[in-house]
Structures are given as C-alpha cells and as structure tokens.
Amino acid sequence: MNEPMAVGLGELKGSRDPEAQLVCYGLGSCIGLALWDLRSRVGAMAHIVLPDSALSRGPVVQPAKWADTALPAALELMAGMGASRTTTVARIAGGARMLNVVGAGSRLDIGARNIEAVREVLRRHDMRLTAEDVAGTWGRTLTLHVGTGRLVVSTAGRGEQEL
C-alpha cells in the first residue's frame, strides 16, 4: 500500500491513483473538504483554515487556505486529472471548537464560521454535500481512499466512522 498523502494546513492535493489515500491529520477548527468523482474515481482533499479570502492581508497564494477559493481550486485540479464536476460529490469534516475559553469570545470559534462558509460555497457552485461530520469539541483525522471513495473520520477516544 502507498504511503498516505498528508494534506497540511492550507494545502490541496488530488490523485487518480486507486491505491492513494489523502489524509488531513488532526483537524480542529479547520475543515477537511473531500471531493470524489464517482465516474473517473479522481479524489481531492483541501485543508481549509479560514472562511473567506477577503480576510487575507496579502495576495491569495494558497487558495486551499480559504473556503471560497479552495473549492474552485480543487475542482480545477480534479478537472485536470479527468474528473467531471457533475459526478463529483463533496463531504466535509472538522470545524470543531477545541478551546472553550470563557472570555475569549468568538475569536476562537472560527470553526462554526468555517462550517457555514464551506456549506455556502458548495451551494453557490451547485455541488452536492452528501455527508458531513462537523462542529463539536474534538479533533478529527480524515482519510479519503481514492480508489473506492471511502471516507473515514477517526478521533481520539470517540472511535471512527465512515462518511
């Protein structure tokens, strides 16, 4: 079996190798966006950090960092690998509130804003969101098996489930 391909903070990776696994390790407030084309069996994963590229202080150099720019970048990457967006489905995980601190207010609840932003951008692009495991107060590792489209969420102490 191939070494899993780690998708780090703000990264986007795609593959058409049926043996490949795309993995977001330790998602907290970030969102792992998994796209998979059931016809061509091309998969992609983005590790989205923040809701809106308008928050960027400089030019957007890493489109996968922001919800609004991550999806178009991922679809483009997949199209280049032979995927068709009409048969591509989206699933998401993450957006937790890890640090529940009294007084820190909303600045640490970026997870909820990320979830909303990703759902909204999917709607705007007419993409089907077929499953999600979001919010809560725990971390998640998200693994996409490119060959089969199987998507697994694992946690520390809360077991794992398929999305």
Binding site: G8, L9, G26, G28, M98, L99, V101, W138, R140, G157
Partner: protein, 198 residues
C-alpha cells in the same frame, strides 16, 4: 517580521525573567521539582505549527490560556498523558505514579498549573513594559495535538503567516512544553514598549 539584535536580546531577557518568575511560582508549590528550562525564541511558519509537538494526531494534554488586555496572544502548556499525571502527583505532593488517569480533580490541578505559570509570566511582562496583560481562565483539553494547535493557528492567521514562539520545557521529571504565541500586531506593540525602555 524582522527583529534587530537589540530587540531580540531585550525580548529574550524579558521572557527569561517572566519564565523565571513562573518557574519560582510553580516550584514553590511542588517543592522545587518542576522547573522551566531557559527559553528558545523562534519564528515559526504557522503552517508548521500543528507539527511542533510531534505527529499531529498524537494525543496530548493541553492547558490553554488566552492573553487579553493590551496584547492578544496565546499561552499553552503541552504534556503527554503520562507527563500530565506526573505533574498532578507533584502538585498534590504524592509519589510519582499515584495518579492513574486524569479525573476532574486532576484536570483542575492542571488548569491551576497553567494559571500559575501564565499569570506569573504575564505579570513579569506587565511590570516591565507597563502594558496591561492578563490571562483568560484556563481550559484543559485532551485530544490530538494538531487539532488543538490548529485552533490557535487559525486565530493567529488573521494577522500574519508566522509567529514568534517562545518555547521552554519542564525539566527533570515532567516532559512538556510551555508556549507563548503573541499575534503579529501585539508583537509590534510589545516591541514598541520594549523600545521605550531602552
């Protein structure tokens, strides 16, 4: 952000003083068995932060305090589960290995450790710079290291791509990290305050 040698050494000095205070406060509670090592100040790319405590899905015990007042930032103590249990033993004056797991009492002891380290450290910064800085109440989280650090990183990303991280370990019996991460705007304020002292 670039620091001049002079700024760097002033900052280093202030951080050392703050950690020495924190170290004294925590050792007085544990008969000197927990001490903080001398600090490392490094610029870290935020994208690399989730990996600083090892593989991002390894489970850690984190004590988190936000920094509020004139500066915005984050303080965090990171332990392995074993290290956290040992810390509780030292705080409770028990022999090592007494605490088998982290129950509510143990978690509140860890929160208190964070409180003491954080408050004495931030007091030292306040005293020296005249800036008002206070910690939030602590939160204790046991989960994947990457997921916990990611939440801090996300906040820091709002105004920069890198952070000046002050990192120190707990020596001897308790392996762990103590991290201070001011956001970039606060870093500029802190430097301005230090500059005024020179």
């Amino acid at each position: 952000m670039e620091l001049s040698d002079r700024e760097y050494s002033t900052l280093q000095q202030m951080v050392e003083q703050g950690l020495a205070d924190a170290s004294r406060a925590i050792s007085s509670l544990t008969t000197g068995q927990i001490q903080l090592n001398s600090p490392q100040l490094t610029w870290v790319q935020l994208s690399a932060m989730p990996r600083i405590a090892g593989v991002p899905d390894s489970v850690v015990v984190a004590v988190y305090l936000g920094i509020e007042g004139d500066l915005d930032g984050h303080l965090m103590l990171l332990f392995t589960e074993e290290g956290a249990c040992r810390t509780v033993d030292l705080l409770m004056g028990q022999s090592l290995g007494t605490t088998p797991g982290l129950d509510d009492l143990a978690l509140s002891a860890l929160a208190e450790t964070g409180n003491i380290c954080g408050s004495s450290f931030l007091n030292a910064i306040s005293d020296r710079t005249g800036l008002r800085v206070v910690p939030t109440t602590p939160a204790v989280v046991i989960d994947m290291a990457g997921a916990i650090l990611e939440s801090v990183v996300t906040d820091l990303y709002m105004n920069g791509d890198e952070v000046l991280m002050v990192e120190t370990g707990f020596n001897g019996l308790v392996p762990g990290h103590f991290l201070l991460m001011p956001n970039q705007d606060s870093m500029a304020k802190l430097l301005a305050a230090l500059e005024a002292l020179l």
